[in-house]
Every structure is written in C-alpha cells, then in structure tokens.
Symmetry: C2
Subunit: 298 residues, 2 copies
C-alpha cells in the first residue's frame, strides 16, 4: 500500500530531512519542498522528488507532513500563497509536526477541515538522529478518520506513537508540557554545572555522580557532555527554547497560571540568545552563566 | 573484623534508623542515640544498644555516624554539651552524613581533627527505603587514613561509594549540586503537572508520555505518582528543600554566582511551607500551584 501512497514533506531541516528518508525507506513515494534548494536536491539524491512550492508538492499527494519551526510557518506553508492545502486533493491529510501553542493547532485544524481536508496535530520528539532512523516519538491527536489515514505514515517515522485523543490541540498541549520541563532541565543543568565549576569541582566527576543520582534528568545526561567537550555546534539551538518557553509564558498568561520556574529559565535562554548565541547549541546557556560569574569551562 | 567494630549512630530518623539496621545486619556492634526515646527503643529491639546522649553513644565506639538534619545539628551532636567528639576515643572516626554547605563541613572537619579524631565528609543520597537495604549512594571525601578507617562502615550502608577526594567539603559540595538539580526538578515537575491540569489534560497520560520523553527527570518519575494518587504523606518533606535550596542561595551569594532558576524554585517551596505544608511530602508544591490557579488535582 505504501508504494501507492504519496507523501509530501514540507520542511527538510534537521528533522524533516530525516523523516523524509524514513518514509522513502518505508516505501512511500516522497515529494519534498524546502526554502533551501540544496536540501531539496539532497532529498532527490536519496530517491525523493523535488518540488518548488508547498502547493506543487501537495499536488497528487495523499498526505502532507509539515515540519517547519513554528505555528506561523505552519500557517504559511499550509494557507499562504502557494500553500499546500490548495494543492492537496479533497480528503487528503495534513500531519502537522511543528511545535506550537494548542490554540494555533486548533485554528489550523479548523481551517483545514473547512477546506475539506483532514488534519492531525502531531508534534514530534526525539532529535535528528532518531528522525533518520524512523525512531521518533509522535504526540498525535485528531478525528478518527484523519488519524486512521495518517497512521501508516506516522508509524513509518516513529517507534512510539501516542494517540492522545480525537481533538487537534491535544498533541500540541502535551508537547508544550514536555517543552516546559525540557527547557527548565537544560537551564538548570547549565546553572548547576557552571556553579560546580565556580566551586572548583571536577566537572567530569560531577557528571558521573549526578547521572547516577536523584538529581539526574534526561537533558542533564544528554546536554552536559556538550559542555564538557566545549562543543556548541547546534544539535538543538538556543532559539528553539526562546520560542518554546515563550509559548509557555503566553499560554500561562492567558490561563492566569503562574510559572515562575520556567519564566526564570526563559530569561537565561534570552540572555544567551541576546549575547549572540541564539543559533548555537542550547547547552550554550552554560556559557552565559560562566561569562556572568567568571567561570572557565572546558 | 566488623564484629569487633562498634559504630555509634547519632540520629535515628528515616535515614539514620535504616542505616543503623544495615550496620547491624553487616555484623557491626551498633549503639544508637536520638532525641526520640521511641526511636532508640526501636533500635534496641533490632539488636542495637541504646544510649542517652551522643557522648555516651561514642564512648567505646570506633566510628561515629552522624545523620541529623543540618550542619547546625551536626555541630551540636559533635561539639555541644554531651557531644560525641569528647566521648570518642583518640583516633576514632566521625562519618558526617547530614547535608550542609561545604564551609561548615570544612569547619567541622578542622575542629574534629584538632581534637585528635578523624572526619569524613559523607553526605548520602537515596531515600529511606534504600537506607534500610544498605543501598545508599555516599558522596565521601576525607584524608586517606580517615577514609580507610571509615570505608568498611560506609560500604555496609551503600552500593555506590564515591571517593571525591582527600579534603572534607568536597562531599558537601557535590551533594549541594545534586540538591540544586533535585529541588528544581521537583518544583518544575509540580509546575508542569499542575499546568497540565489547568489545560485539562489527562494527568495519567501526561505521566506516561513525559516519562518516555526528553522532558523526564528522576524526580518527575519519582514524585508525580504522589500527586496522581493525592498522597502527600512525607517521604521527603518540603522543608528539606527549603533548607537545601536556601544553602544554595547562600553559597551562590557568597560566590557572586547568579542562580535564577533555583531561586525561583525556592520561592515555591517557601510558599508551600508558609501555607502550612512544610512537613508534608515535597510534591506538595503541586498543591501550591493548584491553589494559586484554581486547578483541581486528584
């Protein structure tokens, strides 16, 4: 069946390119589109088909997967000039993977459904390496028919597919809770490791002790090695959490819910981005602490 | 050898009582002392010997293990009226397990050594259940001779014994880095789960998704079940992190090092303690968020 199914992947960045590769490997016909011509050519060399615009990519496709950076970009590639929804045949499915606030996800879903197409709210988690291997976690929600049509495509990209309910926005909401925790865990890992440096502790030993103790987190274990090797090339950029913790602040303000811990963490991502490190690895927050307090990191 | 070694355990709370049991099981002669007569009687029934004061417990002991709540209490049981150091024979070893700031640990070590006894700075991690099973993690530091004499006793109480160096204060410093992370992880777990409640999400599902995703932490995984079952009986109390994040603030202020994320977390522990929940489980911070924002938790 996959050989008869055409999937348009809109956005061939670190995540989207890997997801497109997983889909090709699973036997889907894959059409790709990106603002970077180099990325599109790269996909062609992997066996995909190049398209110049989201609308052209969606023509003849059964499923459109959007993997752009934000809700605003998702709206642009779906409903902007040359947007994918007009190109997609009636009854086709949009799988929306960008991280965004739940209200935006609900709005995009409503507009897609009003246009006679299906929408699955499907933010992803797992990083670029797992995207290539088809081992993502997908936090999916959408009406039954949409979900059923999207399922084979989502399964080809993931090892964990959470079905979070029948309403778009639920995937986005679960993803934002994850981002709240992940962002704070990165910031506090940086706060702790730089403070350990200030105390003169052996930082390799700190990593060994903490990863075996109750102070551990997935992010501490994953990000602190970047700091210990002094390698800040971006696996995930500071500005991703400027955006995602910003969405948390907006959601929390709307809901009249105080989030002092994530608000403090956001300030450290902002300071790091403002100092010119927005496109560096998010573990660069440790450099901000080090710069503020005269600590020398590796 | 253990049968000829007498260990005095000062402080028979949730941790100390379990540690004393582990030492009895390993074959040491154990003498116990606590402000609660009931606790001391409990130890006697487990095969220990009861003592009325730290000084009396230390008489004839080779090793004194202090397991009280703070640096101030440690000073009291070691050097106060009826303190253990005077009772302990020359050449005896103090194993100091309370969490305290590194400066206090260095000061207690210097005074103990000036009195002709040895001192090992040995904060513990792992909780009451692991204390009983002799499965703690110990973050130990001290001069070679002190460490060597203390080692068999520490090994009987732990599965992971970190040797962090030859200077007292290093164990305390590593422990404080762990507490910084642990305290923030508890506070943000509470912030996230209560915010998820405010968003109307299925909290059991949130736990399932997050524990399998990049937003996970040891504390999220361990503490959120208390919230989901609405059970706030204290496995570790709110006031422990009022104390430990307070020590972090003091250390950071002395070092001129900004710690905005742990400062925000401390405010939530303070609010929770101030509202009368200081002796409840530290996951009670979720109730503070819920109370502030009109969220109903299980």
């Amino acid at each position: 069946m996959t050989a008869n199914t055409t999937v348009a992947v809109i956005g061939l960045g670190a995540m989207g390119f890997g997801m497109a590769q997983s889909l090709i490997r699973a036997g889907f016909n894959v059409v790709g589109c990106d603002v970077s011509a180099e990325r599109v050519e790269g996909l062609r060399q992997q066996g995909g088909v190049a398209a110049l615009t989201p609308a052209r990519a969606a023509e003849g496709a059964d499923v459109v997967v959007t993997v752009v950076v934000s809700g605003a970009q998702s709206e642009q590639v779906l409903f902007g000039p040359d947007g994918a929804v007009n190109g997609l045949a009636a009854g086709g499915v949009v799988i929306s993977c960008a991280t965004m606030d739940p209200d935006t996800a609900r709005s995009l879903a409503a507009r897609t459904e009003a246009a006679g197409r299906h929408y699955v709210d499907a933010p992803i988690s797992g990083g670029a390496a797992r995207a290539v291997r088809g081992e993502l976690t997908i936090l999916a929600a959408g009406p039954e028919e949409a979900f059923a049509k999207a399922r084979p495509v989502m399964e080809a990209m993931s090892t964990t597919l959470h079905d979070l309910g029948r309403e778009a926005g639920l995937g986005a909401a679960f993803k934002m809770i994850n981002q709240l925790l992940a962002g704070v865990h990165i910031a506090v890992a940086c706060e702790a490791i730089a403070f350990a440096g200030k105390q003169g502790l052996d930082l390799e030993k700190v990593y060994e002790v903490i990863t075996g103790a109750a102070g551990n987190s997935w992010m501490f274990e994953n990000r602190v090695p970047h700091i210990l090797s002094g390698d800040y090339k971006p696996l995930s950029a500071v500005d991703i959490f400027v955006k995602d913790l910003g969405i948390i602040q907006d959601m929390a303000r709307t809901a009249r819910f105080p989030v002092p811990v994530s608000a403090a963490a956001l300030q450290m991502f902002l300071a790091t981005s403002g100092a010119g490190m927005g496109r560096d690895d998010d573990s660069s927050v440790a450099r901000t602490y080090a710069n503020l307090a005269g600590v020398t990191l590796p």
